[in-house]
């Protein structure tokens, strides 16, 4: 009886230590409290695929947090987070959901700032959020006419402005 009690106490103690370590662990320089569960290791790392919405992509990292899975999108430039960054990050999160990672939040980090966005819980609602951009990207891929959004700043940073008739730069 005493032996069983001692074993029980030992097991509880080990579980408590592991729980404490997990709770206190891994507040890294991004300020994320969680376990790094996936990282984009470069071109050898396969992207995630979401067969329902036919989108694929790779976030830069995935962390398991207390509330779910947090996806990280890193942009090396200075400056704010743009809508295009948010759309790309949401699409990569949808792709990761297709491979079983229940991404609940997205963190987008530039060299200057970082912002966290909560995602809708259903995949459909998340897709609806990015649907116009997905539709335009598909139209562009199939060679159909798509709108341009010429703005001086955007066009200056666009790699295709030399071939673009609508360029504002």
């Amino acid at each position: 009886m005493i032996h069983e009690l001692l074993i029980f106490i030992a097991v509880v103690a080990v579980l408590f230590i592991v729980w404490r370590q997990r709770r206190d662990s891994l507040v890294d320089e991004l300020g994320i409290e969680g376990d790094l569960i996936w990282i984009d290791g470069g071109r050898h790392t396969k992207p995630f695929f979401n067969r329902a919405f036919k989108v694929f992509g790779k976030p830069d990292a995935l962390y398991r947090t207390r509330t779910g899975v947090l996806s990280v999108e890193y942009k090396s430039r200075n400056g704010p987070v743009f809508e295009s960054d948010v759309t790309q990050a949401f699409c990569a999160a949808l792709a990761a959901r297709g491979d079983g990672y229940r991404v609940t939040e997205v963190l987008i980090k530039t060299s200057a700032v970082q912002e966290i966005f909560k995602l809708p819980s259903s995949d459909k609602a998340l897709f609806d959020r990015i649907q116009p951009a997905v539709a335009h990207a598909r139209q562009a891929k199939f060679g159909h006419a798509v709108p341009s959004r010429p703005e001086l700043k955007k066009c200056r940073s666009c790699g295709f402005r030399g071939d673009c008739n609508d360029s504002a730069a």
């Binding site: 592991v18 370590q21 997990r22 662990s25 890294d28 320089e29 991004l30 376990d35 790094l36 569960i37 996936w38 990282i39 290791g41 470069g42 050898h44 790392t45 992207p47 695929f49 036919k54 989108v55 694929f56 992509g57 790779k58 830069d60 990292a61 990280v72 090396s76 430039r77 743009f82 809508e83 295009s84 960054d85 759309t87 790309q88 990050a89 699409c91 990569a92 990015i130 951009a133 997905v134 335009h136 990207a137 598909r138 139209q139 562009a140 891929k141 199939f142 060679g143 798509v146 341009s148 959004r149 010429p150 666009c158 790699g159 295709f160 402005r161 030399g162 071939d163 673009c164 609508d166």
Partner: protein, 144 residues
């Protein structure tokens, strides 16, 4: 039938194209029409890739200190095999997450010892080599 299949495949769209489409749909159209990005854009892309690598290395080594990354390097196929084993197998096993957590706790210490002692390094390498072999065999069995 084959045509249908190829058409279905081509409906797949990448997250980066979707993001770029939000920026300007015409830039995606130009890319698929075969326009070549400017030299400046290619250079900026290279710089971005380098910074991405640095960022990834930073977040993966600061706290994670993977033993496999230490032994083989981050980009090595063997490291990737072990990552896949961790994410696709171990993570779903009963007690797997606790094992992963314990591994993360211990690995910085193991690496420090391994750096200082060549025979610990050798033993560690043999153990991890064997683990890679088993993970590869498991992956092959799973595929077949």
């Amino acid at each position: 039938m084959r045509q249908d299949k190829s058409k279905r495949k081509s409906e797949w769209i990448s997250a980066s194209d979707v993001g770029r489409s939000e920026f300007c749909p015409n830039s995606v159209a130009l890319k698929y029409a075969g326009a070549k990005p400017s030299r400046r854009a290619v250079a900026a892309q290279d710089r971005g890739n380098l910074k991405h690598e640095q960022f990834n290395r930073q977040i993966s080594t600061d706290k994670r200190c993977y033993v496999a990354s230490y032994l083989y390097g981050m980009e090595d196929q063997r490291t990737e095999t072990l990552r896949q084993f961790r994410d696709n197998t171990l993570d779903y096993m009963p007690g797997g997450r606790i094992l992963i957590a314990v591994y993360y706790r211990l690995s910085p210490m193991v690496i420090e010892i391994s750096k200082k002692s060549s025979w610990v390094d050798l033993v560690l390498r043999r153990i991890v080599d064997r683990l890679v072999l088993r993970a590869e065999q498991r992956g092959k069995n799973h595929d077949s």
